[in-house]
């Protein structure tokens, strides 16, 4: 029996994902990639690894690049067939010079002012360095903003903060994908063994950021000038805002990607329509039940029997 390992600091919030992936076989949740040795991967017969970086990591993200590289090496040595990195479209950065519908070949935003984005770029780069260059097949998924769960490039932490900033005069279009659709995308990657490389994952559509906030009943504070920036910085330090000033370019410039390559490679089609996605009513009762953890959590001892 082979196992799918869900690793990374974002794994603890991926409960729904676990339920979906169990259809493909047992899963093993493990948050800390540093403690994953080759022997442990072999012991569990891990055939695929899904790495989830810290979701909503606009602020205070720890550097994961080193741990991720170690996991990549371990996977290669342990003969793991596939590694899926849930990156996000923020690796391209937000700029007024960008075109719409960026392809996967767009350069990384390596000099992004936001440390969290630079960190994600480092992880993405490390993964892409192994594409066609090792035993393990590496797939990097770069989803657009995720709604409906704290998964990948989730907008939920931004929207749920006490202080939700907006930059006066700017209201970029944001592409949205449901966490449920993203789970299906990961499932599709795992069920296509030959798949390799980077893929943008898009959802039902795009709307202005103000529309998402309005539909979710979130009151945003419009930042004006230096005083606005100072106010936001204070809110970040006090833990009320999740958008540091270094990340504000994502609230001013459009960042849209082209997801057609992934759709062509896997037959992926988003299932959650735009209105329920934006208004936050996309989860059916059945899907809400997916939040029950079906497998061993990382807090349990490594030798704990699997419940999947």
């Amino acid at each position: 029996m082979t196992t799918t390992l869900i690793a990374g600091p974002g794994a603890k919030r991926a409960d729904g994902l676990l339920l979906h992936l169990t259809k493909l076989g047992p899963t093993w949740l493990h948050e800390d990639p540093l403690s994953l040795t080759v022997d442990r991967l072999r012991e569990r017969s891990v055939s695929a690894v899904v790495y989830l970086p810290d979701p909503g990591h606009w602020h205070g993200m720890r550097s994961e690049a080193h741990a991720f590289k170690g996991l990549l090496d371990a996977c290669n040595e342990a003969g793991v067939a596939k590694l899926v990195l849930l990156s996000c479209h923020r690796v391209y950065g937000a700029s007024s010079q960008h075109s719409l519908f960026l392809p996967e070949t767009t350069a990384w935003s390596t000099n992004d002012p936001c440390p969290a984005v630079r960190d994600l770029v480092a992880i993405d780069q490390a993964a892409m360095g192994r594409v066609h260059n090792g035993a393990v097949r590496v797939v990097v998924l770069r989803p657009v903003y995720v709604l409906g769960g704290a998964l990948g490039s989730s907008l939920e932490p931004y929207l749920s903060a006490k202080f939700v900033p907006a930059v006066f005069g700017f209201d970029p279009m944001v592409q949205l994908v449901s966490a449920l659709d993203l789970q299906r995308a990961i499932e599709l990657v795992l069920s296509h063994p030959e798949l390799e490389g980077a893929y943008n994952v898009t959802g039902a559509g795009s709307v202005p950021l103000s529309v998402v906030a309005r539909e979710r009943g979130v009151k945003r504070t419009r930042l004006v000038g230096r005083l606005g920036l100072m106010l936001n910085e204070w809110a970040v330090r006090a833990g009320h805002s999740r958008m540091p000033n270094t990340a504000l370019s994502f609230l001013t410039h459009v960042l849209s990607v082209d997801g057609s390559r992934f759709a062509a490679a896997t037959g992926y089609r988003p299932r959650v329509p735009l209105v329920p996605l934006v208004s936050g009513t996309e989860c059916t009762q059945e899907e809400k039940g997916a939040s029950v953890r079906p497998v061993a959590s990382a807090k349990e001892p490594a030798h704990a029997p699997q419940r999947a």
Partner: protein, 277 residues
């Protein structure tokens, strides 16, 4: 306070939109989603409000006359012409003319300068009325959807001309021709008359503007407000080109043809004009 002010402005603009404008905006072929936005960020509501104001300016303030609009063929087209007016009033009036004068109404997607998307308000307004960042990829997307692309091949050098250089055509950039060749798209040349005197600028103040991330500032006695010049738009016959977009010499020769045609249209327009106002 901000929300109250915004809704007052919106109300006023909604009142300016005549039934004809409302009907014409509703008739536009745009794939908008359930929230009323297309994938470029276009919104019929925003366009209706903006055209509500611009159509009043078009008819009463600038008294725009349009000639040869029937030359614009259906399907994808590149509209290429002279740029003026400092604040892209010419672009707005061309959009208005196509909406009011074409049957059925048409709406061009303008290829705007990067700097518009760096400044608040413009950054929000431009996509909502169907204007996108003027990159090659964005223009390809517009043409792939069989839409009209509005391009000012002079770029900001044309839009920010001083009054001393009025109606002198700056050298056209070649990107629009490469796109036309690659996508087999006809080019409709046009001339906009009246824009050069609208916001008469005496200097581009480039060194100062660069510090603010802008290509130019206009030094004008009217600031950014336009004078009520009499405007006219002349659309020429569509031009079809063929050849390889990688052949720089051929592309240059094709661009020269378009430049000459725009120059002729400007000369015609200036000869017919009886007064600036």
């Amino acid at each position: 306070m901000y929300a109250g002010l915004t809704s007052k402005i919106v109300d006023r603009l909604e009142r300016l939109a005549t039934p004809d404008v409302r009907e014409r905006v509703a008739l536009l072929e745009k794939n908008t989603n359930e929230y009323g936005y297309d994938e470029f960020g276009f919104s019929r509501d925003w366009l209706r409000r903006v055209v509500g104001l611009s159509s009043w300016l078009y008819k009463n303030y600038f008294r725009v006359e349009t000639h040869g609009i029937e030359n614009i063929p259906p399907g994808r087209v590149i509209l290429a012409g002279n740029h003026s007016s400092q604040m892209a009033y010419d672009g707005l009036l061309i959009i208005t003319s196509l909406l009011l004068e074409c049957d059925p109404p048409r709406h061009p997607t303008g290829m705007a300068g990067h700097f518009f998307f760096n400044s608040g308000m413009y950054s929000q307004l431009m996509p909502r009325i169907g204007q996108v960042n003027g990159t090659k990829e964005n223009c390809q997307q517009v043409l792939a959807r069989d839409q009209l692309a509005l391009i000012f091949p002079e770029g900001d050098r044309g839009g920010g001309k001083t009054i001393f250089d009025r109606y002198k055509l700056m050298p056209f950039k070649h990107g629009f021709m490469r796109l036309a060749l690659d996508s087999n798209t006809p080019i409709v040349p046009f001339a906009f008359i009246g824009g050069e005197e609208m916001v008469p600028s005496f200097s581009r103040m480039e060194s100062l503007a660069k510090r603010a991330g802008m290509p130019y500032f206009n030094l004008s006695p009217t600031g950014v407000l336009p004078l009520p010049t009499k405007c006219s738009i002349y659309f020429g016959k569509p031009l079809a080109f063929s050849g390889a977009s990688s052949d720089a010499a051929q592309v240059g020769a094709h661009v020269a043809v378009v430049e000459d045609r725009v120059r002729e249209l400007i000369a015609t327009g200036l000869a017919r004009r009886t007064s600036i106002f």
